[in-house]
Amino acid sequence: MADLRTEEFTVNMGPHHPSTHGVCRLVLTLNGEKIIKIEPVIGYLHRALEKICENRTYAQCIPIMDRFEYVTAMSCNYLFSNAAEKLAGIEVPERAEYLRVIMLELNRIASHLIFYGVTAMDIGALTPFLYGLRERELIIDLFEMTCGQRLTYNYIRVGGVSRDIPAEFEPKCREAIKIIREKLIDYEGLLNENPIWLVRNKGIGVLPPELGIAYGVSGPVLRASGVKYDIRKDDPYSIYDRFDFQIPTRENGDCYDRYLLRLDEIKQSLNIVEQALDALPEGDIKAKVSPNFKPPAGEVYSRVENSRGELGVYIQSDGGKKPLRVKMRGGSYNQLQVLPHIGTNCLVADLVAIFASLDVILPEVDR
């Protein structure tokens, strides 16, 4: 048996693969089932959003931002509006800020619920996927009630929000919060202590904090490695400094911790939404902004804490109606960069678990 000839073989995982969450292609070099090299190949979803934005007015850019990261389109709306407001020096009314925070946090919950479902599905449990989407539906209904859209909201505009919430929003929202709180107990009961879930996730894909920092990883993935870094606290935007919430962290940085951390974050976000609903003031929802406003020449880098890490946009204005340059930055971009470092020397099945736990979403990477 000593002179048995073995060969490495290369597998293209994707672009059409059920668990690459879009159209990512990973070129895997395998030794048996063990991965010895991963090379991510991106760009299959490149829509040249940055180039399109250069050709539109600031107000017209916001629907484009919806497509940048469609799972949490509210964050992208907010991001661009915030950057444009900083550039032009626009003051946002109080009520609009509260509505923005409510929507941002609801969208974060919706995104984490998708994460819960998709991760479980990638590890082979098909049922949690439906459970996650069922509760997400409650949130999506709230969005639909508010702005008429279910995925690409175009709700947060430069200077405020596009329309006020209807009267039945608040009771429905409180009911949804109550239901999600109850269902979270079910979720944890279904997977947290499941022995198969534990052996598939514990100690898999450990991301050391130094590696995460070197590769600019942020958000839940980094917090699961023990780095307490959240832009909502460290570089507060909007009115996040008014709310009382915790930044959960975990120590081990493996897939299981990333999963638990996101469940913790859902609970914190629910608290924020409740506090914002309690304190919601009356008043205007939008500052007076001309649709073709011209910000003075200058540049700004604005960033928000998204469910996948730092979401940032760099805008440079030359004083015209259209931005000179819009550069978007998504958390997944860095998380995909770090994947080859934490995914080698594990099995194909582990790679799927790691990929799912990083919660990479491809429109954010390819833009």
């Binding site: 693969h17 479980a120 990638d122 449990a125 049922t127 439906l130 099995l347």
Partner: protein, 354 residues
């Protein structure tokens, strides 16, 4: 004269066919050939219907676990949905890969399908309702169901696809590993009955429910539990469905198959699920025995109960990783089943059982 086949309680329904055959005056060997062909067609027909029903049933169970409705359009709660699906698959274009190994690629689904059905030669559906009561019945069933591995390997190799190859190799490793604990669990039963014949095994469990093998303490329940775990792995169902592992290997060995060839794999999978459940019922749950109702109804009820258990596994658990799966087989299942077998043998020898 003794018929080579019997319908048991269903003799009233089908007995006239025999008499019709007798009246043709064919010589005896020819009569036997026609009879076996007839019976084969019957088993095939019944099992195909069962498989179609199981597909629908599984979809409904999955849907209700996941708080959906599942198929609702075709008939009452979509009862003929799978028939429509099967017709669709039959009429679908058969997409073939150019680089396939033609011979292997073609025969893989056929072997899978045929092997799945051949097992039913010696599974008793009811009292006297068995195609052939082989004296090595259970051995025959185990041997024939193992053919499935061959077909999966062939499918994996013949597709000339890396994912399919990984799936085929995984399935071979898995099924061979789990064959050992499965046979060791079955041997416990065989040891006590003293016969390999399926009918003898069932008859030894007649009478009260306590005669069922699963209630023979302490080794009966252990043997059943180890059997059902190994059988889940044999039938390639979650949490042991790594040969298919949709999220890792896309669809494993059947990635390149489409149309009717895919349908053959698909139906064979459900027939296999039914087979392992039928063996479980025969070995551990008293086979067709039961009061009031006809024997074949009891058999089907019990088998469906076991199938339901397998389906609950599938829609609740995540999937194991391939090395964890093998570890579980060799480091846990094999020692436990062998210890159980030794315990049972010792108790049989000492006469400490009832």
């Amino acid at each position: 004269m003794s018929y080579p086949l019997a319908f048991g309680e269903l003799h009233g329904l089908f007995g006239w066919l025999y008499e019709l055959l007798e009246s043709t005056g064919l010589p005896q060997p020819w009569l036997d050939v026609v009879r076996y062909a007839m019976l084969g067609a019957m088993v095939f027909g019944v099992l195909s219907l069962l498989a179609l029903f199981l597909v629908w049933w599984e979809r409904k169970i999955a849907a209700h676990i996941q708080q959906r409705f599942g198929p609702m359009r075709h008939g009452w709660h979509g009862w003929y949905q799978t028939v429509v699906d099967a017709v669709k698959l039959l009429t679908k274009e058969d997409i073939l890969v150019d680089t396939r190994d033609k011979f292997v690629f073609f025969w893989a689904p056929v072997i899978c399908f045929v092997a799945a059905f051949l097992a039913y030669v010696s599974i008793p559906f009811g009292e006297g309702l068995i195609v052939s009561d082989l004296n090595i019945g259970i051995l025959y069933v185990i041997a024939i169901t193992t053919f499935t591995i061959l077909s999966l390997l062939m499918a994996g190799w013949g597709s000339n696809n890396k994912y399919a190859l990984l799936g085929g190799i995984r399935s071979a490793a898995q099924v061979i590993s789990y064959e050992i604990p499965m046979v060791a669990s079955i041997l416990v039963v065989v040891l006590f009955v003293g016969s390999l014949s399926m009918v003898d095994i069932v008859n030894s469990q007649s009478g009260w429910i306590t005669n069922w093998f699963v209630f023979r303490l302490p080794f009966g329940p252990i043997a059943f539990l180890t059997y059902i775990v190994a059988a889940t792995a044999e039938a390639n169902r979650t949490p042991f469905d790594i040969p298919e592992a949709e999220q890792e290997l896309v669809a494993g060995y059947n990635i390149e198959y489409s149309g009717m060839k895919f349908a053959m794999f698909f139906l064979a999978e459900f027939v296999n699920g039914f087979t392992v459940s039928a063996i479980a019922v025969t070995l551990f749950f008293g086979g067709w025995h039961g009061p009031f109702l006809p024997s074949w109804v009891w058999f089907l009820l019990k088998t469906f109960a076991v199938v339901f258990l397998l389906m609950m596994f599938r829609w609740t658990y995540p999937r194991l990783r391939v090395d964890q799966l093998m570890e579980f087989a060799w480091k846990f299942m094999v020692p436990v089943t062998f210890a159980n077998l030794i315990l049972a043998a010792w108790m049989k020898y000492a006469g400490w059982y009832w």
